[in-house]
């Protein structure tokens, strides 16, 4: 089985978000970048397929040269090879078209992406990719087993979960649950050394339309101070929620 894990290079979850150039761009100043958490759960599941079922695992990122430390981290975790499509990830449709080209050239059976990136939250790359390639697709995937060409997946739905049966070739929009938080791997020194020798192939992007464009960003409005209620007077909170906030 040949697996392609799509990784996005995103600000660390603890990052404070600021905008620059007249609020038209995300301010990367002082921001630590990481593998998108939803993608990292998928990458870790791919490692399981590699170790238990002999899968080959490639990772791909659409981004400029500045994303290579994040790609190298994925190699240090255990991916065999990496591809970087040398383009700014303009929007989800654009990225999905770039990835579709990589998949066509690579003969992959399983493509694992995150359900969304935690920066631009488009949540569309795996679904568009699957549709462009006419592959099966399962989103918000929290469990995946592969047996030959058959796949059994668990999908998170609002208020529960759904068991799904399908077949390869398959695209997954993954998230926590594919593996547990405690299964995530921190690269060790040997992995980091080996990652330096693994192939990181840079490919040119294809011409592709970009149907959406972020024109401007803003931060949420500043919040007023909290109204404190004394612990000995809990009834006052009920009264405030009813009469002032009008939410009960």
């Amino acid at each position: 089985m040949k697996i392609l894990v799509c990784i996005s290079n995103v600000p660390d979850t603890t990052s404070k978000i600021n905008f620059t150039e007249g609020d038209t761009k995300f301010d990367t100043n002082g921001v630590q970048f990481v593998i998108n958490p939803n993608d990292e759960f998928g990458l870790t599941r791919a490692m399981w397929f590699k170790e238990k079922q002999g899968a080959t695992v490639h990772v791909v990122n659409v981004g400029g040269a500045q994303t290579e430390p994040t790609i190298r981290k994925a190699l240090a975790i255990g991916a065999d090879e990496a591809i970087r499509v040398d383009a700014e990830p303009k929007d989800g449709f654009f990225v999905a078209q770039q990835l579709a080209e990589v998949v066509k050239n690579g003969d992959y059976d399983l493509i694992i992406a995150g359900r969304e990136s935690i920066d631009y939250n488009g949540g569309m790359v795996p679904g568009i990719l699957a549709t462009l390639l006419d592959m099966n697709f399962v989103n918000t995937c929290i469990g995946l087993e592969i047996d030959g060409d058959s796949a059994t997946a668990v999908r998170e739905i609002d208020g529960g979960k759904e068991k799904i049966s399908t077949s390869l070739p398959l695209v997954i929009g993954g998230q926590k649950g594919l593996v547990e938080e405690s299964d995530l791997r921190i690269p060790n020194m040997r992995g980091i050394m080996m990652a330096r020798k693994k192939a990181l192939n840079v490919v040119e992007p294809i011409d592709a339309p970009q149907p959406t464009q972020d024109q401007k960003f803003e931060k949420p409005a500043a919040k007023g101070p909290v109204k404190l209620v004394d612990a000995s007077n809990v009834g006052e909170l009920v009264e405030l929620l009813h009469n002032e906030a009008k939410v009960i």
Partner: protein
């Protein structure tokens, strides 16, 4: 040229997000000088959509589409969009809509923008406001493709009544076997309990509750309020509560009217995830907990004393107000 809306239902009944999506579609149709056409799947009260501004319902029925199937539903919507010569399609931000929308966008080569929180800023160019950076910011996003797909956030634009009379037509495009290559085997859904996705009130517990055995009072508080229960990331990582209850940046987002956080310190990732909630209450024994800076109301105190007291006061309040 009508605006198309996907109206979700469960066991024949429309969900609240169907009315929100229809309300939003009506606003867009007004801006564009056209009408709203809804697509419903095995719904029982199609005419009800007229209350929210839908003038025509394309009613899809039949056993093969009784259970949600993203690809098959997307094909039906794509056919409906072609039949109606639709340029704008509105969906919700439910798990089902977010599964289906990218498939639909790819089929129609449409720009897709999810998590939209307000009526379009303008329709020419077509610009919408959406959340970005996991609720730490907003983006004004232009959609330049001919066909546009918009996912509306829950509890943002809201439900707006615009009474029109809705005509109902049967709609049954033929679908190939390939549309059903991803099969639902079993659905395990909590019944009779509010879910985080659509609850008006969410009650959430954190590490301050010391252990899973102490969740009884969280559930009782949720029961009294008709609320959904949720938890912080450490709580789900430690296995005290299921992953499905984890709210925050890598968990579920919350956009309820009221969010009550008990024993949650308020890490930046958690606050991002619940930022879209309208009123936030924090109960924590540490007055320095960051959550107090993000909350509207707070009580500094021991949760094991405050929460039972709050349950009692709410029961008294409910008894007087029903």
């Amino acid at each position: 040229m009508s605006v198309l809306v996907y109206t979700e239902s469960l066991k024949g009944k429309f969900k609240k997000n169907a009315f929100e999506a229809a309300s939003y579609a009506h606003k867009v149709a007004q801006d564009l000088g056209t009408t709203v056409t809804a697509v419903s799947f095995n719904a029982e009260e199609d005419a009800l959509l007229g209350t929210y501004g839908v003038s025509k319902v394309l009613k899809v029925s039949g056993d093969s589409l009784a259970t949600f199937n993203a690809k098959a539903y997307a094909e039906v919507l794509a056919e409906a969009a072609k039949a109606e010569d639709t340029k704008v399609i509105i969906l919700s931000s439910s798990a089902d809509s977010k599964f289906l929308a990218p498939i639909l966008a790819a089929k129609l080569t449409a720009g897709y923008v999810p998590n939209v929180v307000a009526a379009p800023e303008s329709t020419s160019p077509f610009v919408v406001k959406r959340t970005a950076f996991s609720n730490k910011g907003f983006a004004m996003t232009e959609i330049s493709s001919d066909v546009k797909v918009i996912g509306v956030s829950s509890n943002a634009f809201g439900v707006v009544e615009n009474n029109v009379s809705a005509s109902v037509e049967d709609f049954g495009p033929s679908l190939g076997d390939n549309a059903f290559a991803v099969k639902s085997v079993e659905v395990d859904r909590v019944v009779g309990k509010a879910t985080i996705a659509d609850a008006d009130i969410v009650v959430s517990g954190g590490r301050g509750l010391k252990g899973p055995e102490n969740w009884g009072m969280v559930e009782e508080l949720a029961d009294v309020l008709g609320a959904a229960t949720a938890c912080s990331k450490p709580v789900s990582d430690m296995g005290w509560r299921p992953h499905s209850e984890h709210v925050g940046q890598t968990g579920k987002p919350v956009a309820s009217n009221l969010y009550i956080a008990i024993g949650i310190s308020g890490a930046i990732q958690h606050l991002a995830g619940i930022n879209a909630s309208k009123v936030k209450v924090v109960i924590n024994n540490d007055p320095e907990a960051p959550f107090f800076k993000a909350a509207d109301y707070g009580i500094v105190g021991d949760a094991f004393e405050v929460v039972p007291e709050l349950i009692e006061k709410l029961k008294e309040f409910k008894a007087q107000n029903t």
